[in-house]
């Protein structure tokens, strides 16, 4: 996807990304562990990009079988992404709904 990506660059990106992840997720209240796990899981479905790349490159070389394989991969990844984000939203909606309901009561 990125022609100039060298191994060195890629490893730096990997290292910095990992450190960022550790730093970002260091402090989370237990309440949010389940939604966080679910949300992080949805983000890991970003392999969508890899599947897309595979399909498009297979498309320009006219490789039908590989495109089909890529499409299956894309399907799996999107199942993860769409399902993951929606289910996380469903969980979090329950947390955010409550303060409003309580105000109504009082």
């Amino acid at each position: 996807m990125n022609d100039a990506l060298s191994l060195n660059d890629a490893l730096w990106v990997l290292l910095l990304g990992s450190l960022l992840g550790l730093e970002l997720i260091g402090k989370v209240p237990p309440t949010l562990h389940t939604p966080l796990m679910s949300g992080a899981n949805a983000i890991s479905g970003i392999t969508v990009l890899a599947a897309l790349t595979l399909i498009i490159k297979a498309g320009s070389s006219g490789n039908g079988g590989l495109m089909a394989l890529g499409a299956v991969s894309l399907g799996f990844a999107l199942f993860n992404v769409i399902g993951g984000f929606l289910v996380t939203d469903r969980m979090l909606a329950m947390f955010s709904r409550k303060p409003a309901r309580q105000k109504e009561k009082r």
Partner: protein
């Protein structure tokens, strides 16, 4: 640099920034929902970036568009339907399923590139060796993630049990054998690039995923799912190396790190090391005979007696567990709590860090029933308050209230932080029977003189309790 390349870089940068903000925001209750949406937007942007990049360079073949749309519609629709249909109690299984599919996606991408090297890798930037290693990691970890997640889901759903031979030492031999096969296949694949090595690696690592997960007891499944969540990040980051995408590497390095931290948190909460969870097998098998003996001196009572005790209480603490969620009794629990509150009784919920089946799972389930957030009190905060509590009602929880975790150094639970409910004046344990909890061991709490068992399904007991309370006139002042 053409304008399109600049746009692509700009989009990717914004997407990475939004992803980081999203993950950060997910760690605060107030911002979590918006953060989740921000992360979703970031992903959409990343997809847009890839499409723009290709449209401006090689173009996208119309047949490729067809496959893209096909995969998107099928995967997206199924994901959307699944996300709306699953009950909140099945959340751990659902995360496992989604996670497994992510792993499968990485596996398939690496497979495709391995079968046809021209398709994905750019060849120039990263050498053949690196490409080979990336493919191996992506296939290996992706396959383990998929098969392991499916097994984890099956176990949580109760479809799968741990077979007896999986409890024996034999499983280590088998797993080591499978790991060796995978290693040989991986070396063959990197060295010669032959298809046999590839397929052997796929089969070997898939079986390894099953072999490693199958021997782990149901109680430890959340840890496994969390670890597999981290693995799927690793698999996808490797896929990022395979297709040469910085975006993928950054995002999945973050997810992998997040999964590891969360796994560690869960292990701490259960006082088990990760190594022990992964290789120790199911807990129940190692429990000593003393832990599994018959219960003696059990007292049981009816919902009516329970209601009479509650009526005179000043402070009541509920300890909800997974049994409550299975019985779908969260809503009726809130009703009982509201009756007591209307009577001026102080009500709180004690939430063990691993209540439910994942950390935070119980909070989600109680939030679904509109239980006020402030009444959910974490273990460290509520433990010193039990001596001042009149009545504790344990609902479908077991191992997290087992005093042996503090008193009995021979117990497998020993050292796990638990809720000290036995320090309260009276403890009611609502439970269907005297069966062991997830850890498969006896609970000495049930034999305490101040403990009464209320046998029955949590929902039925609570409905009975609500009715008895109303008959006693509890909560009449403001409710009903």
């Amino acid at each position: 640099m053409t304008a399109a390349v600049v746009i692509k870089y700009a989009i990717e940068l914004v997407a990475v920034l939004l992803l980081a903000l999203g993950i950060k925001g997910l760690s605060k209750v107030r911002s979590a929902r918006a953060a989740n949406q921000i992360a979703a937007v970031a992903l959409a942007l990343a997809v847009l970036g890839v499409l723009i990049n290709f449209l401006s360079t090689s173009g996208i073949d119309s047949s490729a568009w067809l496959w893209i749309i096909g995969g998107t519609v099928v995967g997206g629709l199924l994901g959307a339907i699944t996300s709306q249909r699953v009950p909140m109690t099945a959340m751990p299984e659902t995360v496992a399923l989604f996670n497994g599919c992510g792993g499968m996606s990485s596996l398939l991408v690496a497979l495709g590139v391995a079968l046809d090297p021209l398709a994905g890798s750019d060849g120039e930037g990263t050498g053949a060796l690196v490409a080979g290693i990336s493919i191996v990691v992506s296939v290996f970890v992706g396959a383990i993630t998929f098969s392991g997640s499916v097994v984890a889901m099956g176990k949580l759903q109760g479809w799968l049990d741990t077979p007896a031979w999986m409890q024996s030492k034999l499983r280590h031999v088998i797993n080591i054998g499978l790991a060796a096969v995978s290693l040989v296949a991986a070396i063959a694949l990197i060295a010669s690039g032959g298809d046999q090595g590839l397929w052997l690696l796929v089969i070997g690592s898939s079986l390894l995923g099953i072999g490693v997960t199958l021997s782990i007891g149901g109680a430890d499944m959340p840890v496994v799912i969390s670890l597999l969540n981290s693995y799927s990040g690793v698999a996808a980051a490797a896929a990022g190396f395979v297709v040469g995408s910085q975006m993928l590497i950054v995002a999945d390095a973050m997810v992998g790190a997040a999964g590891l931290i969360l796994t560690q948190v869960m292990c701490n909460a259960m006082n088990r090391s990760l190594v022990n969870v992964l290789f120790g097998g199911a807990l129940g098998a190692s429990a000593s005979a003393a832990d599994q003996g018959e219960y003696q001196g059990i007292t049981s009572c009816s919902a009516e007696e329970c209601a009479l005790t509650l009526e005179t209480a000043q402070r009541v603490v509920f300890v909800p567990g997974y049994g409550l969620a299975v019985a779908q009794a969260q809503h009726i629990l809130r009703e009982v709590a509201e009756l007591l509150e209307a009577q001026g009784i102080d009500v709180a919920y004690a939430i063990h860090p691993v209540a439910g089946r994942m950390p935070g799972h119980m909070n989600v389930l109680l939030a679904e029933a509109d239980v006020p957030y402030e009444q959910l009190i974490e273990m460290e905060t509520i433990n010193p308050e039990f001596p001042r509590t009149d009545v504790v009602i344990v609902l479908g929880a077991n191992d997290v209230v087992n005093p042996q975790a503090r008193n009995d150094s021979s117990s497998p639970l020993y050292g796990m932080p638990v809720l000290n409910v036995e320090e309260a004046t009276t403890v009611f344990v609502v439970k269907r029977g005297l069966s062991a909890g997830y850890a498969g061991i006896k609970n000495s709490l049930f034999e305490r003189p101040n403990t009464s068992m209320v046998f029955g399904d949590a929902k039925k007991v609570l409905s009975g309790l609500a009715q008895e309370l109303r008959e006693l006139g509890v909560g009449k002042a403001k409710v009903g």
